[in-house]
């Protein structure tokens, strides 16, 4: 496992370096259109080929990775924190607090939030920069994506409240926020980290889907989600191996993070 963590860490460092050094590794930039080289295969000039508009795929991958891997974990952290807080409070107090909270959670899961997102786009200025648009999108995903795991956190908290150590802690005088922070949350680490790691790729893909509402990235800025979303056409029309690189990068990066964090997910 130690070797696995070293390899994972190295890959992540390379990915981070690549994303941060995108401007130097791909000087053409993500928006320049080489209109005489459309959908070109990999070459010395374009290591991953070009897309339908003649844009360098490697440049778009590096810049897209930077944006998505910066913002998606932030959104996932927000969703996880909200799930921990709301689910934890509900599980801790139990009774009518738990029942009301779960009612709100179920309601939250049932409402078609799509229309809220459309409304948000309507309120935002049309000349919003692509960077601001994608940041707002991820923020929204974070604030809307907590409900499913809040239920699981609540169940886990209720379970922990019945455990021996919890009884002992309460007998020792721990209560309220201190009890939550010192005893409950560490034991919910596994659940919370699982939620976090699931949310990162889900939010990356969701951001691309929200492009249909005018949210997410807008031309010419790429995101990892939008690059993976391009596979939809590629799969049927013209599947080339290099078009799957964004998906591979996403899977590898997420897996590497999970390998690194495995050590912290469960503690005896």
């Amino acid at each position: 496992m130690k070797l696995a963590r070293i390899i994972a860490g190295t890959i992540l460092l390379l990915a981070a370096a690549g994303a941060l050094g995108a401007r130097y590794l791909a000087p053409a930039g993500y928006e320049q259109q080489f209109r005489e080289s459309l959908d070109a295969p990999p070459s010395a000039q374009h290591l991953l080929g070009t897309d339908d508009l003649g844009r360098d795929r490697l440049a778009r991958l590096l810049f897209g990775t930077r944006i998505s891997l910066l913002l998606a974990p932030l959104a996932a952290a927000i969703a996880t924190a909200l799930a921990a807080f709301i689910g934890g409070i509900a599980g801790y107090f139990g009774g009518w607090v738990e029942r009301c909270t779960l009612l709100i959670v179920d309601l939250f899961l049932a409402i078609p939030w799509l229309f809220l997102l459309i409304t948000v786009r309507a309120v935002l200025p049309l000349n919003l920069s692509p960077e601001s648009s994608v940041a707002i999108t991820f923020l929204l995903l974070g604030f809307l994506g907590w409900a499913a795991s809040a239920r699981v956190v609540c169940a886990g908290t209720r379970d922990l409240m019945q455990s021996e150590f919890a009884w002992l802690a309460r007998a020792a005088g721990f209560s309220g926020f201190k009890f939550l922070r010192v005893h409950l949350l560490p034991n919910l680490r596994g659940t919370l980290l699982a939620q976090f790691w699931i949310s990162v790729p889900v939010f990356i893909i969701a951001e691309a889907n929200l492009g249909a509402m005018g949210l997410g990235v807008s031309e010419p800025l790429p995101s990892l989600g939008s690059l993976v979303g391009e596979l939809q056409n590629a799969v049927v029309l013209h599947p080339h191996p290099w078009q799957f690189v964004p998906l591979i990068v996403l899977v590898v990066v997420i897996s590497c993070f999970q390998t690194l964090m495995n050590k912290f997910e469960v503690r005896a």
């Binding site: 779960l102 179920d106 049932a110 699981v152 209720r158 699982a194 799969v235």
Partner: protein
């Protein structure tokens, strides 16, 4: 027991009503509600365009609309779809069975796959098994539903199995961590030290510990499977409620959207309520 069931049903009905109303409000407030693609038809006169707008604004007052809707709903009338020109009740009756079947498949397969991979990884202690589990779950959670649906179509696989591949990573992740946590508990360690077999430890000592959280996850997995299923139904042309939902959202069909919200709420809240009741029964039994 009956009191609990009655309260659960009341809870479901209350959430459905609230979800329908809030969903209808969001739809009403969203931009473009009073507008229709027909307004771009240059053949239409100004009066016709005005009539189209008035028809859409007839439902503008969401409170009155919802009161009327509920009144008709109690008589089994769910209104008329503006985009499809058919009674919503008939549309749902025709489409719901397909979605329910696919949902059952999706949830069932997702749990079998997720639990099997997590259990295999824990039981064998094999790093290869863990690597396979992590790799598969990482791959499928990073794949857009549309891409997976198209791959299934290309390979002529039944499309109803695609949502299972999108949901199982979440089940795998949670179950994997829960298993690891449970295997580290004192009573499980004791059982293993006393020579209990792997399977016996899993079934008699680990699973009962995990069960409350697994039941909570079950309820949530139904919502997740439904969310994954709907776009797949659209792409794979399955005559389920996914297609209806897509057309209704595109056309801002308030009546159809409210009907769909009620149905989706019923499904997901019922699953969550069932898992809550099961958990409570289990915890009471333990106590």
């Amino acid at each position: 027991m009956w009191k609990k069931v009655f309260l659960a049903l009341f809870r479901i009905a209350a959430i459905m009503l609230l979800a329908g109303f809030l969903g209808g409000t969001l739809i009403r407030v969203a931009p473009g509600f009073a507008f229709d693609e027909r307004q771009l038809n240059s053949s239409l006169s100004a009066q016709s365009i005005q009539a189209i707008r008035q028809a859409r604004l007839a439902d503008a007052d969401i409170l009155h609309y919802y009161v009327r809707y509920l009144g008709a709903f109690t008589h089994g009338d769910m209104g008329m779809s503006q985009t499809l020109n058919q009674p919503v009740r008939d549309l749902l009756r025709d489409r719901l069975p397909a979605t329910l079947r696919n949902l059952a498949w999706a949830v069932g397969l997702a749990w079998v796959l997720g639990l099997a991979l997590a259990a295999a990884s824990q039981l064998t202690g094999s790093r290869v098994m863990t690597f396979i589990g992590e790799g598969l779950s990482g791959t499928f959670i990073s794949t857009p539903a549309a891409v997976l649906a198209l791959v299934f179509l290309l390979l002529r696989f039944p499309p109803q199995f695609a949502p299972a591949l999108l949901v199982f990573p979440k089940i795998y992740r949670y179950c994997h961590n829960l298993l690891r946590q449970s295997y580290a508990l004192p009573h499980v360690l004791t059982a293993r030290a006393r020579g209990a077999s792997g399977l016996r430890v899993l079934i008699w000592h680990v699973l009962p510990t995990m069960l409350p959280q697994v039941l909570a996850l079950f309820g949530v997995s139904v919502s997740l499977a439904l969310t994954a299923l709907l776009p797949i139904e659209v792409i794979c042309d399955v005559a389920g409620i996914g297609q209806l939902a897509w057309q209704a959202a595109e056309g801002r069909d308030l009546t159809l959207l409210v009907g769909l919200t009620l149905v989706v709420t019923l499904l997901s809240v019922s699953a969550n309520t069932f898992s809550d009741l099961a958990r409570e029964t289990l915890l009471r039994g333990k106590a």
